[in-house]
C-alpha cells in the first residue's frame, strides 16, 4: 500500500489528519512537520498498525 497523508480542513476550522500505509512510528514522524506548521495538536488516536514494527526498524534490529 502506498503511503499518504490525508488532511481534511472542515468549514468550522477543524483539521483532521490521517496517515495511510505507514507502520510503527513512521506515520507520527512523517506528519509532525504539518502539525507544527498548522498549530496545536488537540488529540491523537492510534490505530493497530501503529503498534506494528516497521520494516525498516525490524531490519535495523536484526543487523545489530
Amino acid at each position: 500500500m502506498s503511503q499518504e497523508i490525508v488532511v481534511d480542513f472542515l468549514e468550522n476550522g477543524e483539521v483532521k489528519m490521517e496517515g495511510k500505509g505507514f507502520t510503527g512510528r513512521a506515520c507520527v514522524v512523517e506528519m509532525e512537520f504539518l502539525k507544527k506548521a498548522l498549530g496545536e495538536t488537540k488529540s491523537v488516536k492510534y490505530k493497530s498498525e501503529y503498534h506494528k514494527q516497521g520494516v525498516t526498524d525490524a531490519s535495523r534490529i536484526r543487523a545489530r
Partner: protein, 133 residues
C-alpha cells in the same frame, strides 16, 4: 493507517493569512511591518493596532476596520469590532482558518517534496492528499 490527529489552527504565516482573506473575498488588504492604528466607523482612530488590515470602506459603510496583529508568540490575533462580529463571527473565523490551513499545508508540504492533490468535498470540507514525489 496508523493514527489520526486533530489540530487547532494558529495564524502564524502572514502570506497564508493574506491569501486566506483573499479567498474569502477581500481584495484590498494592507500589510505593515510596523503595526498601524485601526479606524472606527466615524473615521475615529482606535487604540488597537494591526499588521494586516482591511479598511472599513472595503467591509461596509457602518463597519470598522478589521485587523490582525502579530503577537510576541508569533501568532496573529484578530481585532473585529462587536458590530462587525454580527457578520465576521466564529463561523467566519472557522472559514478563515480553513482557507489559511489549506494554504499553509500546501506550502509546507511542497517545501518538503510532497505532491499535493486538493479536493473540495460536498460538505465544503477541503481535502489535501499528500504523497512523496
Amino acid at each position: 493507517m496508523s493514527h489520526f490527529s486533530e489540530v487547532e489552527i494558529d495564524f502564524t504565516d502572514e502570506k497564508c493569512l493574506v491569501e486566506a482573506l483573499k479567498k474569502l473575498g477581500f481584495t484590498d488588504i494592507e500589510i505593515h511591518q510596523e503595526a498601524q492604528n485601526l479606524y472606527g466607523y466615524h473615521g475615529d482612530v482606535r487604540e488597537q493596532k494591526a499588521n494586516i488590515i482591511i479598511r472599513r470602506k472595503h467591509i461596509g459603510s457602518a463597519s470598522n476596520d478589521i485587523g490582525f496583529i502579530k503577537q510576541d508568540n508569533g501568532k496573529y490575533k484578530a481585532y473585529i469590532s462587536q458590530f462587525d462580529q454580527r457578520k465576521y463571527n466564529d463561523t467566519w473565523i472557522g472559514k478563515l482558518k480553513q482557507e489559511y490551513g489549506v494554504e499553509k499545508a500546501k506550502k509546507e508540504a511542497r517545501a518538503k517534496g510532497y505532491l499535493v492533490k486538493e479536493e473540495r468535498l460536498k460538505d465544503n470540507t477541503v481535502r489535501l492528499t499528500l504523497r512523496r514525489s
